[in-house]
């Protein structure tokens, strides 16, 4: 007889198991509609492979695994895909999740499938891939994908394979029923697991409150190296960590996996599913679920298709809603209440408990904690629940973590034992999620702080660089100035001013200055005249259009005229001054030259042919057009008033018209 160990704490709640094992496992049948959640386990949800309206066969994969920690989903029976949508699922928070809804056709038509009777010929990798493709996830608790658990690294030797047949939760008998009726499958499934893992010893741990199941297993295990180990009934001996301690005397390190102490655990239900997958080629499409509690007339175990609505299932057991106060999925210690009877049975649903008020009464309001320490006595993790409750109330998260809050397995033993009815586990759950949320927030805050600081540094650096450049320029300029002073030269600006002065003085002294001065004045008059013409045209146009700009344009024209007058006066004065000077120097020549100039101008004009005249005109027009276009462009760029732009545009149009009118004239003249 193998030595078994004890674990700290534990409780002995009323078992209430006998009610549901009086009859063999019954077939729950095919409900009209199956709701199959895409995520029934820990890890990534599966991705649908079917379309709405498509007919699917029993066993057909309808959603594939996405990633390593994920399992596929199969159609539990034949039918058509009714919808792929969010439905209420079995979850403590009662939220909606994507589901594939199948309208069953009652024919239960299988997809072609085949198993491998002689699985000894298969490679480990092939076996694991069969298990993965069959969609098998832990059927006892959290639903961890079995294939992932079995894919242990080569460097962690597995001494012990543990099959968990403890089923320590009160009321639940799904595993017990399997042991009684399918001991052969359990042993064969365990052999498959042995082949995959290659452990030194294989133990099936069962609490001593299941004598029939133990007897059946022992009979089936005869001649194998599988050991059936029984130990005293105590909740929560079925917790993975507790079972490892019971059977090996070792504790799984905090935050670690059983493989770290050379153990792999699998559930009884999973061994049967693995046997079905490998030997029969049957994916995980149904499971054994206990329906019990005083609100059902015939508590019993059912073979249920995954996705069967709870209402359909409990009706099969004779559900009396008037007696029922809450529906619990799972057991009375760790199960959760479901919000609606429409939620589906999933791969991890081992029990639907429909208690009466007398059976599981509504808890009375919590009284003060009297620190009696009964919680600490029963805690299987050796925590101090009363201290943690104190800290949880005060939101002292650091102290909570110091007291190893995260080693709490939420088994509920402390709440069960608490004489003051304090919902201790709820406090720990809330604190855990609050701490996780804070950690998450802190991480994000830390990231943004780093980002902000990096940006600040970048900006500062840029600013410093700019400053450095500025300083360098300043120093360079000073150096240049100093260098100039040292070499005797003057300030460059002063030098430039001086140069300009000298030039001016030269011009004034020089006789050539007269010519240029005259030229300047003439140019001024010409440009003023041109401006005047433009302005006048604009004014005319504006007047014609009745534009608001008339006033402004009028002022412009007047001013230009004034300027014109001034310019003409200046030219006159200068000419007079020149004449006086010339008269003083060469009085005779002055008149002569004037006459000559006039004559010359006349001849030139006379000499011009009509086409030459036209050409000159054309050139002038083209010049004007160019100028106007340039102004227009500038106005556009400066986003000036629409009216100004319009006026300019019309000028351009008119000029173009004129040019176009002149062009043929010129052409004909040239042709002639």
């Amino acid at each position: 007889m193998r030595k078994v160990f004890d674990f700290h704490g534990g409780i002995h709640p009323t078992e209430n198991k006998h009610q549901s094992v009086r009859t063999p496992i019954a077939d729950a049948g095919i409900p009209p509609e199956l709701i199959i959640p895409l995520s029934q386990h820990i890890g990534a949800p599966a991705r649908p492979l079917v379309a709405i309206g498509e007919r699917v066969l029993k066993g057909q994969m309808i959603a594939e695994a996405l990633g390593f920690v994920s399992v596929p989903v199969h159609a539990p029976t034949s039918g058509t895909i009714h919808a792929i949508e969010d439905r209420l699922i079995a979850h403590p928070s009662g939220y909606l999740a994507p589901c594939i809804v199948i309208t069953t056709d009652g024919q239960d038509e299988w997809e072609a499938h085949s198993g491998v009777l002689n699985y000894r010929t298969l490679e480990t990798a092939d076996l694991i891939s069969i298990i993965r493709n069959a969609g098998i996830a832990g059927m006892g608790g959290a639903g961890f994908p079995s294939a992932v658990k079995l894919s242990v690294k080569a460097d962690t030797p597995i001494e012990t394979l543990i099959i968990n047949g403890t089923e320590c939760e009160p009321y639940i008998t799904a595993d017990d029923a399997l042991m009684r009726e399918q001991a052969f499958e359990i042993i064969e499934g365990t052999k498959i697991l042995q082949q995959i893992i290659g452990p030194k010893s294989t133990l099936i741990g069962v609490e001593d409150n299941k004598p029939e199941g133990i007897a059946a297993l022992c009979a089936a295990a005869q001649g194998t190296n599988i050991e059936i180990v029984t130990f005293p009934t105590k909740y929560p001996s079925g917790g993975e960590k507790q079972l490892v301690e019971i059977l090996t005397g070792q504790q799984v390190p905090s935050g670690g996996l059983p493989s770290e102490v050379g153990v792999v655990c699998q559930n009884i239900g999973s061994t049967v599913a693995i046997f079905d997958a490998v030997v029969k080629g049957r994916p995980l499409i149904s499971r054994v679920t206990t329906v019990t509690g005083e609100s059902v007339r015939e508590p019993q175990n059912f073979e249920v298709l995954i996705g069967t609505p709870v209402q359909y299932l409990i009706d099969k057991a004779g559900y009396q809603s008037e007696k029922n106060n809450r529906l619990i999925m799972g057991g009375p210690m760790m199960g959760f209440t479901i919000p609606d009877t429409g939620v589906p049975i999933v791969k991890t649903t081992n029990c639907v408990l429909a208690p009466s008020e007398a059976e599981l009464s509504t808890p009375p309001p919590a009284q003060a904690c009297i620190r009696c320490g009964m919680c600490a006595e029963v805690c299987p993790a050796s925590l101090l629940p009363q201290q943690m409750f104190w800290f949880a109330q005060g939101k002292e998260f650091e102290k909570l973590e110091e007291h190893n809050l995260f080693d709490c397995i939420e088994c509920g033993a402390c709440s069960f034992a608490c004489p003051s009815n304090i919902p201790l586990v709820q406090y720990y759950r809330a604190s855990k999620s609050e701490i996780l949320q804070l950690r998450h927030d802190h991480e994000i805050a830390e990231q943004s702080r780093i980002r902000f600081e990096a940006r600040q540094q970048r900006l500062e650096q840029a600013e410093q660089e700019k400053e450095a450049k500025r300083a360098a320029r300043k120093i360079a300029a000073q150096q240049r100035a100093e260098a100039a002073q040292e070499s005797g030269a003057e300030d460059p600006i002063q030098a430039a001013i001086d140069r300009a002065k000298i030039k001016k003085a030269e011009q004034q002294q020089d006789g050539a200055g007269d010519e240029s001065e005259l030229h300047k004045l003439e140019k001024a008059i010409a440009s003023t005249a041109k401006r005047l013409t433009t302005a006048t045209t604009k004014l005319e146009q504006a007047q014609a259009e009745g534009s608001d700009l008339v006033g402004a344009l009028q002022t412009g024209v007047d001013k230009t005229r004034e300027k014109m007058a001034v310019a003409k006066q200046a030219l006159n004065d200068y000419q007079q001054h020149l004449d006086t000077r010339s008269a003083e120097q060469r009085p005779a020549d002055a008149a002569q030259s004037a006459i000559e100039r006039a004559m010359q101008a006349r001849t030139t004009e006379a000499a011009l042919s009509p086409q030459e005249k036209a050409r000159v005109d054309l050139k002038k027009l083209q010049n004007r057009l160019k100028k106007t276009q340039a102004t227009l462009l500038q106005s556009h760029q400066n986003a000036e008033e629409a009216k100004v732009i319009e006026a300019l545009e019309s000028t351009v149009a008119r000029l173009t018209e004129k040019i176009n009118a002149l062009q043929p004239l010129l052409n004909t003249a040239e042709d002639a």
Binding site: P253, N324, R326, R371, A376, H403, V425
Partner: protein, 342 residues
Amino acid sequence: MALMRLTSPHAHGPMSTQRVMQSVLLATIPGIIVLTHFFGFGTLVNILWGSIVALACEALALKLRRRPLGFYLKDYSALVTAVLLCIALPPYAPWWLIAVGIASSILLAKHLYGGLGYNPFNPAMVGYVILLISFPIQMTAWAPPRGLGELPGFMEALQACFTPSAYDAITMATPMDLLKQNNSLLIKDLWGQYPQFGRWSGRGWEWANIAFLAGGVWLLYQRIFTWHAPVAMLVTLGLLAAIFYDGGSSASGGSPLFHLLGGATMFGAFFIVTDPVSSAVSLRGRLIFGGLIGVLIYTIRIEGNYPDSVAFAVLIMNFAAPFIDYYTQPRTYGHRKKRAGE
């Protein structure tokens, strides 16, 4: 009907705070009977009057604190405090002494700190020590045990309580007093000289202690508390008494049995030290807590100014309880070392 939404666990054990308190009250009954047998109806009258005052004080405090009266009065905690304090008071104590003690316990030691579960000190012992310091004469006036004087009847006991000025109290030194005052006699001679001594300890006292021990063992059997603190206290007290017994010389501290069955030892070990609220919570912590109380009881009995010392020892250790808790955290599953005191 809408389905109820509740978090797990859905099942609850049979234990309740009321049951804990009721069990404690029941467990005091043998002790009370023995006390009444040996010292008359004084203790019973104390308890009756004390309970009325305690419930009134509790109701007043709850009303002032705007708490639902029915819900909190039903937890029996005020009654437990009253019964424990009244057992510790001398029989035939005047009504006002009891009232002051109870009011101190319930109002000062309990509700000023936030009510049940929040008091750092044992309320009954706070009340006791306040009375002992304020009214030493009344507090040390113990009646002679049966056989050494006429025991007052029930009516006389009532009279002693409610018209103390008209009551002619008969008092006698307790065995604890006698041992303390002794400085020349061998233990054997002391025993021979004073009739207050019995077979192992004080006459009457030894039977009262045995009765309280019986009540305590029943509570242990009922799993109301763990054995750690009381056993640790009794073991250290017995050990110290054995070490300093000195063969029964005139300087002797008294035999281990004298200490274990004398004074308030068993009552303290099973009804005061085990008060969960003000004691240490971890099992190792309770061993230390109880053990040190045993040391203090012996030390104060022998070296202190007061003949008995359970109240002082318990109150001093109440101070230390959070500190002990801090350093005695149990090793959590899957952790290598104890996390204590990190």
